[in-house]
Each structure stands twice: as C-alpha cells, then as structure tokens.
Homo-oligomer: 360 residues x 2
C-alpha cells in the first residue's frame, strides 16, 4: 500500500488488455502502430481504452524509447530587454507549435552570466529533454556551449559564429560530410532588412518620396544595421535618395529630438521609418510640436508591432514580428533533426509583414 500521496494512477495497459481480451502488446500496437491490427480488434481495444479512460504513462514510454518528447527552453534572465513582450509571445507561439509536433516545452533558467553551469546540458542526459530552443542575443555564449556538447538545438536569432573552429568555409563541401555538429547550428531569424524594405515600399506606394530613417542610438550600427540596410536598399530601388537618417536613444523624448532634427531638413521628409515603436512615439511628439497631423501630414512607421501600437492615437503602422511562423519554423527544424533526418537548410529567414494602421 504505497499511500504516500501520489494521485490515482489511472488504469495501466494491462487492464486495458484484459478488458479488451487481448495481450498488452496489442494495446501498445493499437496506439503506436494501429495499421498492424485487424479493424475489429482495433475497435475493441479503442473502446476499452475509452471506457477505462486509459492514458499511457509517458515516463514509462520514455524510459523505453529513450526520448521524452520534451524540449527545453532556456529562459534568458540576463536579457532584460523591455522587449520582453517578444519573449512572452514567442513562448506562446513556440508552445503551440511544439504541441502541434507532439512536444512539450520544459522551461528553465539561464542565470545571467552563468557560463559554466552544466546543469542544462545535464538535462539532456537525465532524459528530461530531447533538445533545446533558445533565443540568441548578440554574443550569446549558449549556442556554442550547446554545440560543443552536441546537444540538438535550434536558436531563434542567428547565433554568433562558433568561436571553436573554422574560419574559411568558402564552398568547399569537404567538411559538409563530416560530423553533423560541424555543419553549424540551426537557426531561424526575422529578416528585418526585408521588413524595412516592405515599410518603404508601402510608403512609396502611398505617394511618399522623402522617407527618413530614425535608428536607436547606442549601438545602432549593430542592432539596427539590417533595418538601415533595408531602408537604403528600398530607397535606391525606388530611385530615391537615402540621405535622411539619424539616431536617438529609444525613449519618447530623445526620439522626439531626433525626429525634429530629421524634420528640419530641406526638403523635409513626409514619412519616417523608426527602428522601434518607442522612437515612433517620439515622432508623434515631434509632429505634435510642429503642428503636423500624424497620418495625414506625416507618416510614421514603427518596428515591433508592440501592444502600444494599437493603443495610441492615431494607431501606429508597424513592422510586425512573425512570431507564429518563427515558432513553427523552429519546431519543424528541431523535429527534423530529432528524428534523425537532415534539414534542407540550416537557417531560415522569415520576412515580417507591415501591419498597416492609421499612422501611415
């Protein structure tokens, strides 16, 4: 009588077998390889399963099959980006995608700066997870750590070049056939450059010809380079001069100052693409100070499609993040490797779409 406390473990496979008058292996087959059963038997077994409310014990299954259908997600405690909305929505999307593939997400902490900890690498060995997903930030050491331990994983955000080995990998397919780990990590990322281009395309289609870009000031070269490049490329593509860009810290006030600088140029831009929604708010403030009506006299497009975008007046057009698609792509990649196949491509770039609202 092990009445410690643990709840009512439902019926086991053998009870179902008895109820259906078959051997327990047949029940197992009914669940895992139904095509091997005669339709009649299958129906009888299924009926018994239904009646008894049988659910297989996943731990027992894992013990036998050596996989858990759980994947680990490394929560990033260090990255106290106010971007946390992203993490939340991404988690949501990833979770959904994982369930669609038959996986569950196991969460754990990556204590800030805790490079040495092998705890999560251990999770693979303890049989808690089959692989990992993480959101890689610039200079994130984790992808490399995972690669080194040969842990299957996919990163959201292109991981930094593995510091370990190669430098020259110009098309010589020689190391392609080597260890699978040497092929580099799997990743999915947002094509911010394409997002900026789409924003410009949208504005040009609306008749704008003087379109400025406002980036985030500290470290803009790194962080906003893709957005900037997309803006430049799109402007060139449309035969427009890409000469009106500026940078400001991502706060409402600083953004306003930056926007004022841009708007005081001659000829003044009629539209601004801001590197994030907060800077876009700064553009609103600047427009207000100049007596320009956002949407009618000055178009503003932000980045990130944050919750505030739909809560300001006028509502803000913003380049979104295809989080659902990202989640799906990540899980598809991971499921593929976990099943032993080789994914067609190591990395996936997903273009965001512009959510058009009143501001432009």
């Amino acid at each position: 009588m092990s009445t410690t406390q643990q709840g009512p473990s439902g019926p086991t496979i053998v009870q179902v077998a008895q109820a259906a008058g078959v051997s327990r292996q047949t029940v197992s087959n009914a669940l895992n390889a139904p095509h091997r059963l005669r339709p009649g038997t299958l129906a009888r077994v299924m009926a018994a399963i239904d009646e008894l409310g049988y659910v297989p014990n996943l731990m027992a299954r894992s013990l036998r099959t050596r996989y858990t259908r759980q994947i680990g997600y490394l929560l990033d405690g260090g990255g106290r980006d106010p971007d946390s909305v992203v993490q939340d929505e991404f988690l949501q999307a990833l979770c959904e995608a994982a369930e669609a593939e038959g996986y569950l997400l196991l969460l754990f902490n990556y204590p800030a700066g805790d490079v040495e900890t092998t705890r999560w690498a251990g999770l693979l060995r303890t049989g808690s997870v089959d692989g990992f997903v993480l959101r890689a930030r610039p200079d994130d050491p984790r992808p490399d750590l995972l690669s080194r331990r040969r842990a299957p994983f996919v990163s959201f955000g292109r991981p930094p070049r593995a510091g370990g080995a190669s430098g020259a990998e110009a098309g010589s397919g020689t190391e392609e056939a080597g260890t699978d780990a040497a092929a580099g990590p799997l990743w999915v990322d947002v094509d911010l450059s394409a997002g900026a281009e789409a924003a410009v395309d949208h504005l040009v289609a609306a008749g704008h010809r003087h379109i400025a870009f406002l980036g985030r000031s500290p470290g803009s070269a790194e962080r906003d380079e893709p957005r900037l490049a997309g803006w430049r490329r799109a402007m060139r593509k449309h035969g427009l001069p890409a000469d009106a860009c500026d940078w400001a810290p991502s706060t409402c006030q600083d953004g306003a100052r930056g926007a004022l600088r841009l708007l005081s140029a001659q000829p003044a831009p009629t539209a601004v693409v801001a590197a994030d929604d907060m800077l876009a708010m700064g553009c609103y403030a600047a427009a207000g100070r100049l007596g320009l009506a956002v949407g009618r006299e000055l178009a503003v497009i932000g980045f990130g499609d944050s919750p505030i975008a739909s809560r300001v007046t006028p509502t803000l057009t913003s380049v979104g993040r295809p989080l659902a698609h990202i989640g799906e792509a990540v899980m598809r990649l991971l499921a593929t490797t976990l099943s032993g196949r080789v994914p067609e491509e190591r990395g996936v770039l997903l273009a965001p779409s512009v959510t058009v609202r009143e501001s432009g």
Copy 2:
C-alpha cells in the same frame, strides 16, 4: 551503428557501482540517503560518480517514485493583456523558485476558450507533471476545472469562487466539509490595496495633502477597486479628504484628459496616484500642458513598475509587483501540498513595495 539516433546515454548507476566496488543500491543511497553510508564508502561512491560524470535518469526515477518533479504552467493565450510583461517576469520568477524547490516548469497552452479540453488534466495522469500553476484572471474557468479533477494546483491571482456552472447553484455551500478539494484552491495574490496605501503614505510623508486617484475607465469598478479602496483608506487614515478621483481609458491621451480634469479642481491636487503606468504617462502629458514640472510641482505615482517607468524623464515612481516573492510563495504552497502536508493558509496576500524614482 545500432543506435537509432538518440544521444549518448551516460553511464548508469550500475557502472558507478562497479567503479566504486559497491552494489548499485548503495549508489542510490549515496544520492538519496547519504546518512546511511559510512563516510568512507560515501566518498568512494561520490568520487566514482564524479569521475564517470554520472547523472541519474529522471524518467526511470519517476517511474519508480510516481512523481516527476515537473509542474505544469498553463500559458494563457486568451489574456492578451498588454500586461504580458507580467507573464514573462512571473514565469522567470516562478521558474527560479521552482528550481530552488527542485522542480522544473512544463509549459503548455490553454487555447482560448477551450474549456472542454481535458488534455492538460490528462498530463497529470500521464505522469508528466505533479501539479499545476496558473495565473487566474477574473472569471477564469480553469481553477474550477482543475479542482474538479482533484489536480493539485496553485493560482497566482485569487481564483473566482468555485461555483458549479454559474450563479444558479451559488447558494448551498454545505459541501465545505467533504473532500479535501472542497477546502478551496490555493492562491497567491498581490495586495494592490496595500500598494495604493503605501503610495499615499509615501506622498503624505513627502508633504502632500491633496492626492488624487486616476483609475482605468472601462470596468474600473472591478479591476481597480482594490487600488481605489487602498487610496481611500490611506487618505482617511491621514485625515485627508478622498474626494478627487476620476477615470479614463488607459492610453496616454485619455489619461492626459483625465488628469486635466483632476488638476482643474479647486484646490488642485499636488499628487496623483494612477492605476497603471500608462495613465501615469497621461499625467505627465497633462502636467506638460499645464506647465507643471513633474516631480517638483506635481508628484505622480504609477502602478506596475513597467519597463517604461525607468525610461521616461523624469523617471516614474511606481508601485511594483513582488513577482519574485510571488513565485516563491506559489512554489512553497505547491511543494507543501505535493509532499502531502497541509499548508498553513490557503491564500497568501503579498504587499508590493513602492519603487521611488524622480516623479514623486
């Protein structure tokens, strides 16, 4: 190459036993009941464990012990609150607290409106989790569903009274003494009323005597009632009139309008407690329009301590959310019930503290 694909399962307990020259349950004891071993043996076993890099297989352990040390967290897809920062930070805190108690968090989706799904209840039976944590919103049906299935869980946010289907059978209430589940769910919540009181206390200590309250307009009665009550109680406590309160939709512009109404009263308030940080931003805007310097001439305190609080000028004093404490309290409660003990109290109210910045 006999292996399908699954990674290198580390050494097992029996290999450690051989290496240490003991039997395998001695190794087990070394891990689970070290006090039963002679120091010498223990050291030898530990050395072998270290050398071989042994980690116990948790699935096998679970199969035997009947608990998984995993707890499920129901992601709330429906609650598209722009409050999502809360969910993210809470998850972080909960995850940390869970790990401290030796638990891991298993995430899964609660598809919006999917009241019927028994999938997550099944998770308990499949042996995937020992219990659940969820963030309950008003009228959340999930706590009741979990109670009904006798699933151990703790909710962040006081769950609605477990009524049968609806208000119909609300009366009887004699089912209190029956099952243990009837003792009601376990919960942890933020004492927003105490938070508002603390805010007022802080303002009064700073010399303010005319302190207004600005609430969120649709559904304010429900959502902001505790904040309002705390403000009222504190005002009364200090012998001040609690007559200046107003409501506005939680956007910057509407908040500004609401604040303007409040500030046009006679005598004009010198401080405003806003029900969230967004409304506080509205107060900033109103102050700007009136030529009042926030912090010096008008004190503003928000709620939520959101990321913007520290990024605006002047930085915003805000009533925080003790997310770390909440996570710990939740896990303590859950761990207690899971270990078969009865927690001292069914519910825990945690008072938030005021993060003082430049605005007041």
